[in-house]
């Protein structure tokens, strides 16, 4: 049986682990370590290996949900993780100093994968930091020559994450 996967990526603290937990039909596997260096100020622990969850489909098929580690020194894993993936969900933390820089970084890091598939963007923590707005993100994307679905999401809320995943699916095939 073929293995299908959806990749969750984004900077530390964006909510990747939480998002996978919201969607997964099984308790997600998470490998957390005490944070070191600059991540410590944002979170007391951080994912240094990966998050894993699964969506059970009718007929016994599974969709594997992989979350990339948020720390850049693990970027060699991103290529391995994304290989064979259906699409990419990029989560951005709106409370970070420069979320636009984060966006540019990750879109560039996964450029090859995105060209083969699709990406959607979920912006988290907008209740704590309402700016930049979603419209601001679209303005940035337009300047980069891109038109990507971008939603305000709460990674804890399954409905938000399900809608983001639906947007990814419809981006891949509007005829679904």
């Amino acid at each position: 049986m073929a293995n299908y996967k959806i990749i969750f990526t984004g900077p530390v603290g964006a909510g990747k682990s939480t998002a996978i937990a919201s969607l997964s039909d099984e308790p997600p596997v998470s490998t957390d370590e005490s944070a070191s260096d600059m991540t410590k100020e944002r979170k007391s622990s951080t994912t240094v290996a990966l998050d894993y969850g699964v969506l059970q489909l009718a007929g016994g098929e599974k969709i594997h949900l992989y979350g990339t580690p948020g720390q850049e020194r693990f970027d060699f894993m991103w290529d391995i993780l994304s290989s064979g993936g259906i699409g990419l969900i990029l989560l951005l933390d709106n409370t970070r100093a420069d979320p636009f820089q984060d966006m540019r970084f990750f879109l560039d890091a996964f450029k090859g994968f995105i060209e083969q598939t699709k990406v959607v963007i979920g912006v988290t923590q907008m209740d704590l930091s309402p700016r930049p707005t979603i419209e601001d993100y679209h303005r940035q994307l337009h300047g980069m020559g891109k038109n990507i679905p971008a939603f305000e999401v709460d990674a804890r809320v399954r409905k938000d994450m399900a809608m983001l995943l639906q947007a990814l699916l419809y981006s891949l095939d509007p005829g679904l």
């Binding site: 969506l55 059970q56 009718a58 679905p149 971008a150 947007a167 509007p174 005829g175 679904l176």
Partner: protein, 409 residues
């Protein structure tokens, strides 16, 4: 092509107070959504008049003068013995069955078909004989007035209201059959003018508040609405049901119903207090996001139609995907967004390639345009080359399974 007898009747309601109008609205959205829709006065196929309203005589006289050939359904507590040619009288309390029967009768008349025999739960008062002043005129008059007197039956309007909620977004759009854009009659049925409804005023007020960067109050003549541009929020003391009913009343009809502020016939905008956090007047639970409210208002007002300045055969564009997680989402909205975000297409073509009813595409466009995300394409290049067909990806099967899993099928 849609046959005339299959067309949904456009019905205007005159002389109703707000509560009665909303009750009528619930009826049209539920039981007879495939037979008739409430619409504005202009272009309506028939009119329903409440003869018990305080200025009903004036309303009736104006109606006969402006639209002498438009059939009427007349509602009253009192039995009516004076006949009006082409009219149907229903005694209050109005029962659903009687209204449905009257609408069926009207549809038959308008389509020229023979009225079918039917059993309806009402008592027919024997038609009174008439002594026409001019026999020649009498000979050319249509059938005499039919009178329906309802039995004492209880009506569960609460059930109707919960049905409206539970039936989902289809009730928000109403029911508009697919049109042939080459048929002017059908085209007209699929268009509306946002400026003649609350939607137009709300959009203008929001635009003014954002450009001036100061809080504004929109005085609607019904409930005040306060717009806070810096937080992009709107305060309104009304629930969705009330607001939706208000959205469907043409602005000039609001003036006719005589609850406009100070006798003003139009809505006005005045500065408002921006210190909403400290102002006890503003209940935080009644605050809504600006984009979400304008989106909703446009959806309700459009009722599956498109603004009348849009050419359905020319491409439209979508600037970017709407922020769906914070908006009212309806069937096929994401699919329409996916298609339009790739390349401009005409609305009719979007419906065709997705194989969905046009009303979903029209509603999406109306709402997206209302929040500034969509409009008619103007560049000639977008009209020159037809967009490519949508090809499903190789893994469409697994994508469909994931989608079904997410939406619980």
């Amino acid at each position: 092509m849609v046959k005339r007898q299959d067309l949904v009747l456009r019905v205007c309601a005159l002389g109703f107070d707000t509560r009665s109008y909303m009750a009528l609205q619930l009826f049209f959205q539920g039981k007879c959504s495939d037979k008739a829709n409430l619409s504005g006065e202009e272009g309506a196929d028939l009119a329903i008049i409440d003869l018990d309203s305080f200025n009903s005589a004036k309303i009736l006289a104006a109606e006969r003068e402006r639209y002498p050939h438009r059939p009427l359904i007349l509602l009253s507590l009192e039995e009516q013995h004076d006949s009006l040619p082409g009219s149907i009288y229903i005694k209050k309390p109005v029962q659903i069955q009687n209204m449905l029967a009257a609408l069926d009768d009207m549809r038959s008349r308008l389509s020229g078909a023979k009225s079918p025999d039917r059993v309806v739960p009402f008592k027919t008062i024997p038609e009174t004989s008439e002594v026409p002043a001019n026999p020649a005129v009498a000979a050319s008059r249509p059938a005499k007035v039919k009178v329906f007197v309802a039995r004492e039956e209880t009506q569960n309007t609460g059930y109707a209201a919960s049905l409206l909620d539970e039936k989902g977004f289809g009730d928000y759009i109403g029911s508009l059959q697919d049109i042939d854009a080459g048929n002017p009659l059908e085209l007209r049925a699929a268009q509306y003018d946002p400026r003649r409804h609350f939607q137009g005023y709300l959009q203008s007020a929001c635009k003014a508040a954002l450009s001036k960067n100061c809080a504004l109050r929109l005085n609607t003549g019904w409930k005040p609405i306060t717009i806070f541009p810096q937080s992009r929020e709107i305060w309104i003391d009304a629930d969705d049901q009330q607001l939706r009913s208000f959205c469907l009343v043409p602005v000039h009809s609001i003036a006719d119903l005589d609850f406009a502020d100070g006798g003003s016939a139009v809505m006005t905008v005045t500065p408002a207090s921006a210190v909403k956090a400290k102002d006890e007047e503003y209940d935080p639970s009644k605050v809504q996001r600006m984009d979400a409210l304008v989106w909703k208002v446009a959806l309700w007002t459009s009722a599956g139609r498109v603004p009348d300045d849009i050419d359905l055969t020319r491409p439209v564009y979508l600037r970017h995907w709407p922020n769906f997680t914070r908006l009212l989402v309806f069937p096929h909205a994401m699919r329409v967004a996916a298609v339009l975000s790739e390349q401009p297409r005409s609305l009719l073509e979007v419906a065709r390639v997705l194989n969905i009813r046009q009303q979903y595409v029209f509603a999406f466009f109306s709402a997206a345009r209302a929040i500034g995300l969509a409009d008619q394409a103007v560049r000639q290049a977008e009209n020159l080359i037809a967009p490519p067909p949508i090809e499903p990806p190789k893994n469409a099967g697994i994508l469909r399974k994931i989608l079904h899993r997410l939406i619980g099928r």
